[in-house]
Symmetry: C2
Subunit: 508 residues, 2 copies
């Protein structure tokens, strides 16, 4: 059924970098009067295959009638320019791409049919090759969301995602890893756990992601303290010298399909259990981990809303992990309220540093969670006896070994940095006296994002109260941080309209 594409027609066009940032979708701009455009019958939104030397990409066409592009030029968006590794003036060939046969599998999924390993592999290979338009990616993501991937399909998706990327081989011995299933603002335990575990002699090369739908990912927060954009060779050197690292996984093409799917999931704000599991575990398998501790915060406004949902997700993670030769241990944690005080990359980094440095005002909840999880990993990896992990982790944090190890890791990654601070701030005050009943994680996240997080590293929310605390009328509940007045005003407007985001109950 697979049609061979026709050879490239003889006419070539001169490439021009237009400097248009379309956020990763490769876009091609051709003039309406372009001869190749005419003879090939290309139209606006046509998918067009471009060849430059050995390299080919598929881009979406925008037809230009303006005068900023000449008829013998092919203008490229930044994403297309990068993918094609083009130079100004290069001559490019263009043709219709082969029909996208794997889209039939996406349709089959929409119509409720199960997908085989071969079908999923075909889709993911085409996704990574850039053959899917953003619209088609959105359809695939939507078709798989809402629990529509079963166990076998999830295993297939995970395998396919591992297969299309790089894979790090750490040789003999255990490779510890952890992952927190998002939804809990400020839950930045990784940067406390990794130095503790590494200080106890276990290897923990942690690759983290940037934010998907949250105001900060671990990689965004770590980046305010040290470079995270390391290649595999650099990561290997950091881990060999320190035993650990906290780097951005996206930079090393571990599960590159995941990065493409996440880009589309982000504006849709859609979650899919199967894609979530495949996303998490494909990165872990590709990173060469052998043991993964999964932190599942559970709470009514966390990503996982009930203990039962956590059980189901935990079981799926373990089963898929097993199918891929990965040991998975799941820990449910409290997901009722944000962890620490900061929400947003730099504000969260400030909390992490306070814990690592044993500062008197360090957020106790962040410290406790980190020690609990670090203890589990120490036991999981055999560095502490059963039941002895927490005590060992606490000792390593208390005596400064964790902070020294963190400094070593940051230095090895390229140098410790001071997180930035925001130029624009605005406190939100309690409208009445009483007890803080609940804090709405989802709305807080939204406000922090409206304030500019994570793109603006200094932006976010600094939370001044915790559930159960008594507050006086007029007392600040949280402070908005923003890099621009526009973002501050926007976040403020929304925060004001959602007055019970921090719900204060008047005492009877």
């Amino acid at each position: 059924m697979k049609a061979t594409p026709i050879p490239f027609p003889p006419g070539k066009l001169r490439l021009r970098r237009l400097g248009i940032d379309t956020y990763q979708e490769p876009v091609l701009f051709m003039h309406r009067d372009c001869r190749v455009c005419h003879s090939e019958g290309f139209e606006a939104q046509s998918r067009v295959e471009l060849a430059l030397g050995e390299r080919t990409i598929v881009a979406t066409l925008n037809v230009v009638s303006g005068d900023f592009l000449a008829p013998d030029e092919a203008g490229l968006s930044e994403a297309a320019w990068r993918l094609l590794k083009a130079q100004d003036g290069d001559m490019v060939s263009l043709r219709h791409p082969s029909p996208l046969e794997s889209l039939g599998h996406v349709r089959a999924k929409v119509y409720g049919r199960r997908l085989t390993q071969a079908a999923i592999t075909a889709v993911i290979e085409d996704v990574v090759a850039g053959r899917y338009s953003d619209l088609q990616l959105a359809a695939f993501v939507t078709a798989c969301a809402g629990g529509r991937l079963d166990l076998e399909e999830t295993v297939s998706l995970t395998r396919a995602m591992v297969a299309v990327g790089e894979r790090i081989d750490w040789g003999e011995g255990l490779v510890m890893d952890k992952h927190c299933v998002g939804g809990l603002p400020g839950n930045r335990t990784t940067m406390v756990i990794v130095p503790i575990v590494a200080a106890c002699g276990l290897r923990m090369p942690k690759t983290s992601s940037r934010a998907i739908t949250s105001p900060a990912g671990t990689a965004d927060t770590m980046e305010t303290m040290a470079p995270v954009d390391l290649d595999v060779a650099q990561i290997r050197r950091v881990v060999e010298s320190t035993g650990g690292c906290v780097v951005w996984g996206g930079a090393v093409r571990l599960s590159p399909a995941d990065d493409i799917l996440i880009r589309v999931e982000r504006p849709l704000d859609l979650d899919s259990q199967g894609q979530l599991v495949a996303s998490i575990l494909s990165k872990k398998v590709a990173a060469g981990s052998t043991h993964v501790l999964i932190d599942l915060p559970v709470g009514p406004t966390a990503k996982v809303r009930s203990a039962q949902a956590a059980e189901l997700l935990g079981r799926l993670l373990s089963q898929v992990g097993q199918a891929l030769g990965l040991q998975v241990r799941v820990v449910q944690t409290d997901g009722l309220a944000p962890v620490g005080r900061g929400i947003g990359p730099a504000l969260e980094a400030r909390d992490v540093l306070a814990v690592l440095q044993n500062q008197a005002d360090a957020p106790a909840d962040l410290a406790q969670r980190s020690l609990l999880l670090a203890g589990e990993i120490l036991e999981f990896g055999g560095a502490a006896p059963a039941g002895g992990g927490l005590a060992l982790a606490s000792a390593v944090l208390a005596d400064g070994r964790a902070w020294r190890k963190f400094q070593d890791i940051c230095a090895a990654q390229g140098g410790l940095r001071v997180p930035p601070t925001a130029a624009y701030r605005q406190a939100m005050h309690a409208l009445r006296s009483g007890s803080v009943l609940t804090i709405d994680n989802r709305r807080l996240s939204r406000i922090a994002k409206l304030a500019g997080a994570p793109e603006a590293a200094c932006a976010g929310i600094d939370l001044h109260v915790r559930p159960g605390e008594f507050v006086e009328r007029g007392q600040p509940l949280f402070t908005l941080h923003a890099a621009t007045p526009g973002e501050l005003a926007y976040a403020l407007e929304y925060a004001t309209s959602q007055a019970d985001t921090v719900h204060v109950l008047e005492d009877a």
Copy 2:
């Protein structure tokens, strides 16, 4: 929960028409060094609201670092330019749009929940207001596809789609209409039926669509013979003077939400029963029809593949029609093979003209189908007694009244035209002698589209054989027609790789 947007900030930008055709998605181009871009914290793929006088639109941002745009300019795509009714040099205000609350309903649907009338109305109102990005539209379309809308949701969707558009009021009396549920190449009965029915004194103002996933829609084919892009006042004049018309429904904002959804469905090639019914019936209700005959071609490679599927779809159409005060009658017809010989706008028009003009070589199947359906409508509208419709329709076609009426209608619509012919042609020959067993409608459609149909009106396929016919080795099976050598080569390559599209069985 609805947040009020903040007022527009004081800074304005000078509008510039960039002449970039993004195929209807409104796109805004701002320079990286633009002051408003900075102070508002806009980023690539941000959704930005633009205001010009009383008019506002939401567009997707592309950030430009090239030199074709100045930092104080806001460049617009053609779609954005049209929606904003902008003039070069107009000063525009920009802000973050309100959070798109109705996207929560789309997510709810993805997660398997039912949507209320209020929820669907909120989505459709936002869609028509241009607040959905293409990605978000793709998610909505995908979430509703594959039978995920029930009867009540389908009624709600139809009502919402009618409510956001114009509605034609024809006053007292019957208004006849017909619709064919696609999937059968060349099935252009409308242009034979309308003049027959109008010649018998019934009103039949037919608004048709352009192709969605097929090589030609009725409007595309009619356009090769007369203008179809009429406004409501023009349509009214045509129908008052002739009793009928065949125009493009998209030009009159009947169910404009449908046109937007179809634009996204098209590249996804996804069908959804609920959206299909809402799409069909919302246009009919908005067009002011009282009686609608639905032609459901059934066949293994037609859109509706079995009599049972046709029964279910027919029942849904009748039920939704009833809920909206529309009389619906459904006729199942033979969907085994293409109707007539031509596939593609101009080639189909040639077949229609042959039937209307009673030419000796007119395709008999197209004539028979048209007469059957016209007879049904004549009975449905009381212009013929039960059982007498076919005879009346046949008489009106045979004696030339239908052809004269068609000429009157074309003249009233702006003048009869001669369909164009293709400059590039290539016959495909039988590889062996034998009987034509089957013809694959879907592959034929694909080949016709690869040849350039419907965008190139002259492009498509001329079919020379029918199922059951005996063919000699080397005899032409069909001829490809294309407007450009590139398209011809591309269609030819695919047609060659799919040798059994016309399946010839060697006689034993």
